[in-house]
Structure formats: structure tokens, C-alpha cells
């Protein structure tokens, strides 16, 4: 009886959430099974798996999947490793600590589009970018980052954007580390490295798991940086799944194939999530 009432009372919110999730999903599934090209209105007949076939056999598909994974893993490694190192570095009080912290965190406040523009026009531009100037003053040939190393350029931009998030989480976590434990280790003969290795890293394992999880959600769908800087090119060198789907839907006006691509992205995200949860998720229990 009590159970029924509980369920009844919970029903409205559960139903609302279900609709919220199921309507877009089922519409995507529906679109993916019909011919739906904006250039040919009215010809919305059922086509079965054809949209999926088109998407998977698209020459951009394999590069896009690979680029998505490379981008995800590289940015995760860069932000976690640099994030832990920098947070540990600025944990001890020093002169100007507050300003340094604000500066380290500020890239997070810059929107992805602006971030990409800054990197594209001010840092990586082969003629008047900062990197070009550095190369030239060292007597080297300037590198045209966006055309020669497009994916690497995107990785640098996205890492710059997400490193502050990692630092923010790790700095907060380090502040909750027990000082008496560090002192006890110090008396036990531990060096700074030992304390970092045996106390700080284990202490950070849960924040690291959180950072990896949250970043994964956003990094699978990186779009603005690619759109603004490389436009997915040259060729498909910096196209990821999100950009490929955009390409299908809005450049080729094929909503059907784009929906199929969207469903594939959901599957990929689930596969990645499965491995991630197995790898780091055990830190989140208890």
C-alpha cells in the first residue's frame, strides 16, 4: 500500500523525465530509418538500414571515430597529468598564490569559440602568431599548425580549455588532504616524492575519476573548436563524430544519415563509458 503511494507520487517526475528522454531518442531512431533529405522534401519513405550504411561507409567515418578517440584520450591524459602536477605545485603557500590560481583557472571562463579564435589567430597563425614569432626568432621555419598538425592543434586548444577544470578539482581536493598524515610520513622518513606518490596520488584517485568522467562527456562532443579553427580539415584530418554529423545534417541537408550518425555516437559513448567505469569507476564506490 505504502509502496503504491510512493510510486504514485513519484510518477509525474519519472514520466516527465522519460518523455524528455524518449521523445527525442525515438524521433532520432525514426528519422534514421526514413529517407529525410531537406533537398528532396516529401520523399520520406522507409529505407531500413540504408542511412546507417551510408554513414558507416562514408569516407569520413573511420577517420572521425579515430579522431574522436584520439582527441578524448590525449586531452584526458594531458589535463589529468598536468592538472595533478600543477595543483601539487601551487598547493604550498607562496607569494602571489591567489593570482596564480586565478590565472590558472581563467581559461575555463573563455567560451570554446573564442578560445579557438585566440589560438587560431593569435598563437598558431603561421604569419603573425606567437608560435611563428618564437620559431622565427630562433631562426626556424614557422609551422603552419592548423594545416600541418590539425588534430594536434585541436588537442592543444581543448586541453587549454579543460586543464583549468582539472586544476580546480584537484586544488580543492588537495586542500582537504590531512596535514598530519604528511607530517607522519615525513617522520617516517618519506621524501617529498614519497609523500606525493604514496599519499597525494591515492588521495586524488577519486577526484581524478570525477575529472575523467565529466571531461569524457564533453570531449566526445567537441565541436566549436573544430568548426572555428580547422573546419574538420584538411580532408578529414580533424573531423570528429560530432563534426561529421553536423556535416551530414547541415552541409548535405541529410537529416536521415545525420540521425543514424547520432545513434552511432550514442553507441560509441556507451562503449567508452563502459570501459571508463570499469577502469576508474571503482574509485567512486563507497
Amino acid at each position: 500500500m505504502k509502496r503504491t503511494i510512493t510510486r504514485l507520487l513519484m510518477a509525474p517526475s519519472v514520466i516527465l523525465l522519460l518523455i524528455w528522454m524518449i521523445v527525442p531518442l525515438s524521433m532520432t531512431i525514426y528519422f534514421s530509418t526514413i529517407r529525410f533529405n531537406l533537398l528532396y522534401p516529401g520523399q520520406n519513405n522507409f529505407v531500413g538500414w540504408m542511412n546507417f550504411e551510408f554513414f558507416i561507409t562514408d569516407p569520413g567515418f573511420m577517420p572521425a571515430v579515430l579522431n574522436t578517440l584520439i582527441l578524448l584520450i590525449s586531452v584526458l591524459i594531458i589535463t589529468v597529468v598536468l592538472g595533478v602536477a600543477l595543483s601539487a605545485l601551487i598547493d604550498k603557500p607562496f607569494f602571489g598564490q591567489g593570482i596564480v590560481r586565478v590565472l590558472l583557472i581563467s581559461p575555463f571562463f573563455i567560451m570554446p569559440t573564442v578560445n579557438a579564435l585566440i589560438w587560431k589567430n593569435m598563437m598558431m597563425n603561421p604569419v603573425y602568431g606567437v608560435f611563428a614569432w618564437i620559431s622565427q626568432s630562433l631562426g626556424l621555419e614557422p609551422i603552419d599548425w592548423l594545416s600541418d598538425f590539425p588534430l594536434m592543434s585541436v588537442i592543444i586548444m581543448v586541453s587549454w580549455q579543460w586543464l583549468p577544470f582539472a586544476i580546480l578539482v584537484f586544488v580543492t581536493a588537495l586542500q582537504s588532504q590531512d596535514t598530519e598524515q604528511k607530517e607522519a610520513a615525513q617522520m617516517d622518513g618519506a621524501t617529498g616524492w614519497h609523500i606525493f606518490r604514496y599519499l597525494t596520488i591515492p588521495h586524488l584517485s577519486r577526484p581524478i575519476a570525477v575529472v575523467v568522467m565529466i571531461e569524457t562527456i564533453f570531449l566526445l562532443a567537441v565541436f566549436a573548436e573544430i568548426f572555428v579553427s580547422t573546419g574538420g580539415g584538411p580532408g578529414y584530418d580533424s573531423t570528429n563524430l560530432a563534426y561529421l554529423i553536423y556535416n551530414q545534417a547541415l552541409l548535405q541537408y541529410d537529416v536521415g544519415v545525420a540521425s543514424a550518425g547520432g545513434l552511432f555516437a550514442v553507441i560509441l559513448a556507451n562503449i567508452v563509458a563502459f570501459f571508463l567505469i570499469r577502469a576508474v569507476g571503482k574509485n567512486l564506490t563507497v
Binding site: D178, E180, Q181, E183, A184, A185, Q186, M187, D188, G189, A190, H194, Y198, L199, P202, H203, S205
Partner: protein, 367 residues
């Protein structure tokens, strides 16, 4: 022979003078307790000995070696922290062996040492557990075990029992006393709890405002404090202080006018010349409620029954309030008029600058 010698130790923080010239020598195997009110510098002193704080001036010598500037790991000391500071990601066994592993002691030797320590502290069933799966008392034992396993020259304890509940605290106190008897290692123990200080210590160091107020055995401090601070700090409830309004010299004694009566105090128990004004200190347990023939009288304001005894708060005729320890079932009522008899031998006199000027009664007879 002194084992640990502290000479003229000073500690300045930015704007705060935490230790103001500490001189102390501790012999090998001694159990020394630092006690004092919060902010007196007792923890700072311990942490300076441990090397967790650097000293501003002065030196620390341990076993004929100057350790003032040495890193804490090289000082041959082990510390038990207030929060136990167990390494949360390691099992009990790993916690115990951490220092030995860092020192690259051979595995077989580590295993042997961990086994003997865990056996002596009854940690065997807990060796595979993580600290968060242990109770407070068990964590405490692991923290002590982690200190013992290194076989240090001196154990340092920083208020180790303050996180335990009352019953466990008494039990751990006993275990610490046993441990000291068994190991015979020098121990330095910081607490703000005078009961811990009195029961555990061979010698108690009372600190006040960054200075050593007095050093002595628990009984010496109780019977022969050298200042008002020590007299009031040791003993519960704290010592009563009575204003002396007038001193009249008689042949071999002084007649002290305390406003509600006169106390005759033998002349030969006073160190040096008699000052013009004194205060009289008497502990609650050295006064007795009597039917008649008391030294002065007062009205009972409040009785606190503790079961084993009762603290009676008495208002004297001159509005001063004193506390007298009475037997548990003395059948006294609030508002009742009583006579108070004091043990003259236990009276202590203070001069204007709160130093003690009286001697023990048994010392006086030898004059």
C-alpha cells in the same frame, strides 16, 4: 645523565612568540608529560622536538647528538598524532611497515618486526583492514604500533587520547602506562588533561605562555607548586584563594586576617622575609565541614553531588565563594550554615607577584 637536552629554545612565528626560552633535560626512559592550557606552546614544543617546526634559536640534543637542524626523519623519533594520521589508502600492515619499507629494510626483517608489534598490540586480526574500517581505539593502537615498529629513541605523543570517548580513554591510558613499563623507552606526551598528566608522568612539565612554569613529579606539583598558576592548574576543583587583609606577627607564627577569621601560620614555613601582603591558597580537599570549632563559617550556596564525594560551594560572610570537598552522604542542604576547618599543614601562601613563599610543613620542622 641527560638524554634529551633542550637549551634556550625560542620559536617565533610572524608576530607571535610561541616559545620563550625553554630549558629542559630529560633522562633516558623517563615518561615526561607537557601540560598547560591551550595556546601555552606545549604542542609547538613537541613539534619543534620532532622537527616539524624549526626553532628560531636554541638547541636540542638527543643522546649526545645535536639534532636542532636535522630533518625529522633523521632524528630517531616517532610520533603519535592526535588524529592518528594513519595512511588511509594502506592496510594496517602497510601502515606499520611504511617507515621500514622507505628505509629499505629487508623484507624478512620487516615481516618479523610487524609480526611482533602486531602481536603485542593485538592487531593480528586487523592487519588486512584499512584504517576507515577500524574503531577509534583500534586506530589508536595502530598509530602506536607504527611508532613502536621503528624502535625510536624517543616516542612523542600529541594529545593521543583526546579523540576517544571517556571509557576508552581510561583504558588506553592504562595501556600506555603498561607499554612504557614494558619498553622502557623515553616518552614525551602532550596533553591538556591534568588527570592524564598526573597518572602517566614520571615528571610533569607545566607550560604557560611559552615558558616552563614548573617541572616536577606529579606529587611535587600538587603539594609544592611554586606559583599561583601551577597551584590553580593542578587539582580539581581548583585551589581556593583567600584574600589576606592583615598580617600580625606573633612569636613563632603569623596571624593572617582573612576577613572572616584568623589563621595562624607558623613563621618557619615562610621562605625569606615576610612580605607585607600575601594571599592564602587552600585546596578544596583540605577543608572540612564541621559542626563547631571551625576556623570560619559560611552558608552553603550549592552542592554538586558526584556520587563518590560532593563539591560544596560556600559563600563566606564577606561574600567570597569557596569550594569544599565533602564526603558523599554528609546530608548537607543548600542554604545551611556551616563551619569550616582547614588543614593548616596544607595551606600555601603567595606573595603579590603570585609566587609561592611557603614551604611544606615537614620541611619546616627541620629548621
Amino acid at each position: 645523565m641527560s638524554y634529551l637536552t633542550i637549551t634556550e629554545l625560542q620559536k617565533h612565528y610572524d608576530s607571535y612568540h610561541a616559545l620563550r626560552g625553554i630549558n629542559l633535560s630529560i633522562t633516558e626512559g623517563e615518561f615526561v608529560v607537557f601540560v598547560g592550557p591551550s595556546g601555552c606552546g606545549k604542542s609547538t614544543l613537541l613539534r619543534t622536538i620532532a622537527g616539524l617546526e624549526s626553532s628560531s634559536e636554541g638547541s636540542i640534543n638527543l643522546d649526545n647528538r645535536d639534532i636542532t637542524e636535522l630533518a625529522s626523519s633523521k632524528r630517531d623519533l616517532a610520533m603519535v598524532f592526535q588524529s592518528y594520521a594513519l595512511y588511509p589508502h594502506m592496510t594496517v600492515a602497510d601502515n606499520l611497515s611504511f617507515a621500514l619499507r622507505l628505509a629499505k629494510v629487508p623484507d624478512s626483517e620487516i615481516a618479523e618486526k610487524v609480526r611482533s608489534v602486531s602481536a603485542s598490540l593485538q592487531l593480528d586480526p586487523l592487519l588486512d583492514r584499512k584504517p576507515k574500517e577500524l574503531s577509534g581505539g583500534q586506530r589508536q593502537r595502530v598509530a602506536i604500533g607504527r611508532a613502536i615498529v621503528r624502535q625510536p629513541k624517543v616516542f612523542l605523543f600529541d594529545e593521543p587520547l583526546s579523540n576517544l570517548d571517556a571509557a576508552l580513554r581510561v583504558q588506553m591510558r592504562l595501556e600506555l602506562a603498561r607499554l612504557h613499563k614494558k619498553l622502557g623507552t623515553t616518552m614525551i606526551y602532550v596533553t591538556h588533561d591534568q588527570v592524564e598528566a598526573m597518572t602517566l608522568a614520571d615528571r610533569v612539565v607545566i607550560l604557560n605562555a611559552g615558558q616552563i612554569e614548573q617541572v616536577g613529579t606529579p606529587l611535587e606539583l600538587y603539594r609544592q607548586p611554586n606559583s599561583r598558576f601551577v597551584a590553580e592548574f593542578i587539582g580539581t576543583p581548583k585551589m581556593n584563594l583567600l584574600e589576606v587583609f592583615d598580617i600580625t606577627r606573633q612569636d613563632s607564627q603569623l596571624s593572617l586576617d582573612i576577613g572572616v577569621g584568623h589563621i595562624n601560620f607558623p613563621n618557619n614555613r615562610i621562605n625569606g622575609p615576610v612580605p607585607s601582603s600575601v594571599k592564602l591558597g587552600i585546596r578544596p580537599e583540605h577543608m572540612h565541614l564541621v559542626e563547631e570549632g571551625g576556623d570560619f563559617s559560611g552558608k552553603i550556596e550549592l552542592v554538586e553531588h558526584l556520587g563518590s564525594e560532593a563539591y560544596t560551594h560556600i559563600q563566606l560572610d564577606n561574600q567570597q565563594t569557596i569550594i569544599v570537598k565533602a564526603p558523599a552522604r554528609s546530608n548537607i542542604q543548600d542554604g545551611q550554615l556551616v563551619q569550616i576547618k582547614i588543614d593548616l599543614d596544607e595551606v600555601i601562601l603567595f606573595n603579590d607577584s603570585d609566587r609561592v613563599i611557603s614551604k611544606l610543613a615537614e620541611d619546616a620542622t627541620n629548621d
